[in-house]
């Protein structure tokens, strides 16, 4: 190595006070000057700034240095910047190495300045030790497929899909429910303007469905994802609908035919009403098609798909009610149906994940009693909306069965009196499951606002209602949000600062609410007809599973993790996969839409050029050393390694387009037959040895 002409430049960044505040820059610079092969040592207030980069470029251009070590902050954000500077000045950019003397040094040891300085020296020495062994590498290019898959057809998915489709990209929208629309379709009105949710959402649903560049794949789930940015191979499982969608017109005749015995809680109404085994998700569904829930179906006529119908005495086939009711034959049970549905293969260049959220069930909150009149806020939303189980008529939830009974009678033309109780007092409880160490420590972000919204809608419609709201704090950080809050107070809604600790059932289905008011400094209690729990927004149950399939990260709280909170909020650690909406964390509609559009634009700018530069920091097998044991094959998280024939022996080989350079194989190989370029064994060992020897670079 020493015969080569190596001239290392060490550039130490003050990062304003961030580094210089704890690390003695002069001392470190003096130390660096004496390291082997170091030709130049310089320091500057902000190395990443334009003049800072210019210092490096100047030295390269003048031929003073041919390896660059920058001691500054995190390579995650800044390595690309310095690499580009090297490249601009005519140096192979992989002759660059970074020492992080901020995040892991000055910040961590802010109060131990001497030790921080010592550690900075060691980190720089380690980087120099590695820099001496750096090799020039060449970037690769991969072709990009210009199709995009959007997972999730809620408001975020719809916007992402529309933006991309309008820009000319082909979009596959995969939705697990029969219809797109997501959680927003369940809402009555939206804050802070009180627009009708359906009025602003349904036109968009139609637009995306009819867009020539969008292919809707609903009632489907992602089964597997292979490949990498630009060339993802996705398998999507289209679930069995048991209804021929080609023929189904969404007329709904089958729904009414489905017998009462086959009724199960209606997911769309959050369990407040029942739906049949054959159902259309909701009246404004897109596509408006029926599906059969095979778990709920009671096989009425004793017949399942592909089975011969039973016959009457005179030989006529006995058909299932839905089959009989269908005017187009879409429900015919003559043909067998594969319960596994159909596997669809897609090739896409980028993926946007916008799978939304679910709200916590109230079941786990035992202290709020098991009364049916204690409901979640999303149930409240269904209760007040015109498309809900009571068509927007406000009654206590325990009386909904009475209402449905009454409605049936009226529909049959009978005269009947509705005997459902109307609530006089409604209590709202915030932070149920949010900000709670037992469930979710995070704030669900939208609860304060939607509670205020519901209270406002109720109070405006039924001024005689008494509404009590218990908040730990009222959080309204958004444009026009606090004004909205003040509007609520002006309406005479009673707001308390304090959490409700328990709800007890009274014998007449009313509820005794035990709360606390911080302003009075006293416990308070009241009798309420309905208690609304603002249960937390939480990740969908299968989100972890989906993340694993996609190879993206999930944070401790269970939401998808972005690459960088501030700088890359819609990117993931896997190139080419973007996230938007509540799958990334609780947020309201404006934020979801903004994120969706950001994700769409990120995907578009990635795919538009048609090809992409890929770092050469990937692994390579030396077949001479490889013993073919196959450990690496098992361990590779990207499925990038396979066994191939080499000189009559089985050896492993790494597919460079799939390899992400994670280094697992190189670390695991007992023969060390695998090299991870940019992080070779020699380079890493040199770093470790240098640190082990407290900053002394050892000649090997």
């Amino acid at each position: 190595m020493s015969d080569k002409d190596i001239r290392i430049g060490v550039y130490i960044c003050h990062c304003g006070e961030n580094i210089a505040g704890a690390v003695n820059i002069n001392e470190v610079a003096e130390f660096a000057k004496n390291l082997p092969d170091v030709a130049v040592v310089r320091d500057y207030l902000f190395m990443c700034s334009d003049p800072g980069q210019e210092i490096i470029k100047e030295d390269i251009r003048k031929g003073l240095v041919n390896r660059v070590v920058v001691a500054a902050c995190t390579p995650r954000t800044h390595e690309p910047i310095f690499r580009r500077a090297c490249e601009d000045a005519g140096l192979n950019k992989y002759y660059f190495e970074m020492a992080n003397i901020r995040d892991q040094c000055s910040w961590a040891h802010w109060h131990e300045k001497e030790k921080a300085t010592e550690k900075a020296k060691q980190l720089i020495a380690a980087a120099v030790a590695k820099a001496r062994l750096l090799e020039p590498l060449e970037d690769r290019y991969v072709e990009l497929n210009k199709n995009v898959m959007v997972v999730g057809g809620g408001i975020a998915g719809i916007f992402a899909a529309l933006d991309l489709a309008n820009a000319g990209f082909k979009v596959y929208m995969v939705e697990k429910n029969p219809s797109i629309g997501g959680n927003m379709a369940k809402l009555d009105k939206t804050f802070p303007t009180n627009d009708c949710s359906a009025c602003i959402l349904t036109p968009l649903m139609v637009e995306v469905a009819n867009h020539p560049n969008v292919e809707l794949i609903t009632y489907a789930e992602v089964e597997s994802v292979d490949g990498s940015v630009g060339n993802f191979k996705v398998k999507v499982r289209k679930k069995q609908t048991y209804v021929d969608w080609e023929k189904c017109t969404g007329c709904g005749a089958c729904i009414n035919a489905c017998p009462p015995k086959a009724r199960v809680p209606d997911e769309f109404n959050e369990g407040l009403s029942l739906r049949g085994a054959i159902y259309i998700q909701f009246p404004q569904a897109v596509p408006k098609k029926a599906v059969i829930d095979p778990d709920a179906c009671i096989r009425c006529s004793g017949r399942w798909f592909g089975e011969e119908p039973r016959r009457t005495k005179d030989g006529k086939p006995i058909l299932a009610p839905c089959e009989k009711a269908c005017p187009t034959g879409a429900c015919s049970r003559d043909e067998p149906r594969d319960p596994n549905g159909e596997l669809i293969e897609l090739n896409v260049g980028s993926i946007i994940v916008a799978t939304g959220y679910k709200v916590m069930d109230k079941k786990q909150f035992k202290e709020f009693s098991d009364s049916p009149n204690v409901i979640t806020a999303l149930q409240m939303e269904r209760l007040i909306t015109a498309t809900g189980p009571t068509e927007g008529k406000l009654i206590v939830p325990s009386d909904i069965p009475k209402y449905l009974e009454w409605k049936k009678k009226v529909e049959k033309g009978k005269e009947a009196e509705l005997e459902a109780r109307k609530p006089k007092v409604i209590t709202f409880v915030s932070c149920v499951g949010s900000r709670d160490n037992r469930y979710h420590t995070y704030c669900s972000r939208v609860c304060c606002m939607y509670m205020l919204k519901q209270a406002m809608l109720l109070k405006e419609k039924y001024p005689e209602l008494d509404i009590y709201m218990f908040f730990i704090d009222v959080r309204t950080p958004g444009k026009d949000f606090d004004e909205y809050y003040m509007r609520c107070r002006n309406l005479g809604i009673k707001i308390f600062k304090g959490k409700v600790g328990g709800v007890q059932k009274l014998p007449d289905e009313r509820l005794l609410v035990k709360g606390y008011d911080a302003d009075l400094g006293k416990p308070v209690e009241l009798i309420s007809d309905i208690v609304v729990l603002a249960t937390a927004i939480e990740p969908n149950t299968d989100l972890k599973d989906l993340a694993r399939k996609l190879g993206i990260n999930v944070g401790a709280e269970g939401f998808l993790r972005e690459r960088h909170t501030k700088l890359y909020p819609v990117d993931t650690m896997t190139e080419g996969i973007f996230i938007a909406g509540c799958a990334q964390g609780p947020k309201d509609i404006p934020d979801s839409v903004a994120q969706a559009k950001a994700a769409a634009s990120s995907a578009a700018s990635l795919l538009a050029p048609g090809k992409m530069k890929v770092e050469p920091l990937i692994s390579e097998v030396n077949p001479e050393k490889c013993t073919g044991c196959g450990i690496c094959v098992e361990l590779c998280p990207y499925g990038a390694i396979e066994m191939v024939e080499y000189n009559g022996k089985r050896k492993s080989k790494i597919n460079e387009t799939l390899c992400k350079g994670c280094g697992v194989c190189a670390a695991a190989c007992p023969s060390k037959a695998i090299t991870l370029h940019g992080f070779t064994y020699e380079q890493v060992v040199a770093q470790i040895r240098t640190i082990a020897k407290k900053g002394v670079i050892e000649e090997v």
Binding site: K499, G501, D517
Partner: protein
């Protein structure tokens, strides 16, 4: 014990902070944590504990939520003068529902322990401990008529009738803070 009801009309935070820094060796919150309320600092003052606390319900001054707040602020003298912690029934509703797993019950009892340490307790409260040492029972009665009436032997098979067991218990008690504080004879 003198029961001090009420709080001063204005709480002078500057003065509280100064007293805590200058007059005490340790912050009161640190002491409370040491005395067993490990999650004290997780409290966000939501008030759920107070909403169902029997003490708050019947009008004691320093019930769970307020006690925690006062500890977090650094108030000490006011708290040492108050009897609320000694009224806590240890019902643990608060522990069950606290969203931050602070266990306000544990804070109440840590406060008791702090008061014991500072000997800010009445003889009444010490009585139970003395009785425990003397007889092995916190509640103890010499009258045995009731037992005889229901057909039981005069003495139950406890430390009451077992001198060796009582000595064992005393050995244990002598190795606790009770003895350190001089509330029972030292070993």
């Amino acid at each position: 014990m003198e029961v001090m009801e009420g709080v001063p009309p204005v709480i002078n935070l500057t003065e509280v902070a100064r007293t805590e820094k200058e007059e005490f060796e340790k912050k009161v919150s640190e002491l409370i944590i040491e005395f067993g309320a490990e999650n004290l600092l997780a409290c966000m003052q939501c008030g759920a504990c107070a909403s169902i606390c029997p003490l708050a319900r019947v009008g004691f001054e320093w019930y769970n939520k307020k006690l925690i707040k006062a500890i977090l602020i650094g108030m000490k003298e006011e708290l040492l003068d108050d009897s609320t912690p000694w009224a806590c029934v240890a019902c643990n509703r608060c522990t069950e529902i606290c969203p931050r797993q602070v266990s306000p019950f544990e804070v109440m009892f840590a406060m008791r322990r702090l008061m014991v340490e500072e000997l800010a307790i009445s003889t009444l409260a010490i009585e139970g401990d003395r009785s425990l040492y003397e007889h092995g029972h916190a509640v103890y009665m010499t009258g045995r008529e009731a037992r005889k009436k229901v057909g039981l032997p005069e003495k139950p098979p406890t430390t009451d009738s077992d001198e060796k067991a009582l000595q064992e218990l005393r050995t244990i008690l002598k190795n606790t803070k009770l003895a350190e504080l001089g509330l029972i004879p030292m070993e």
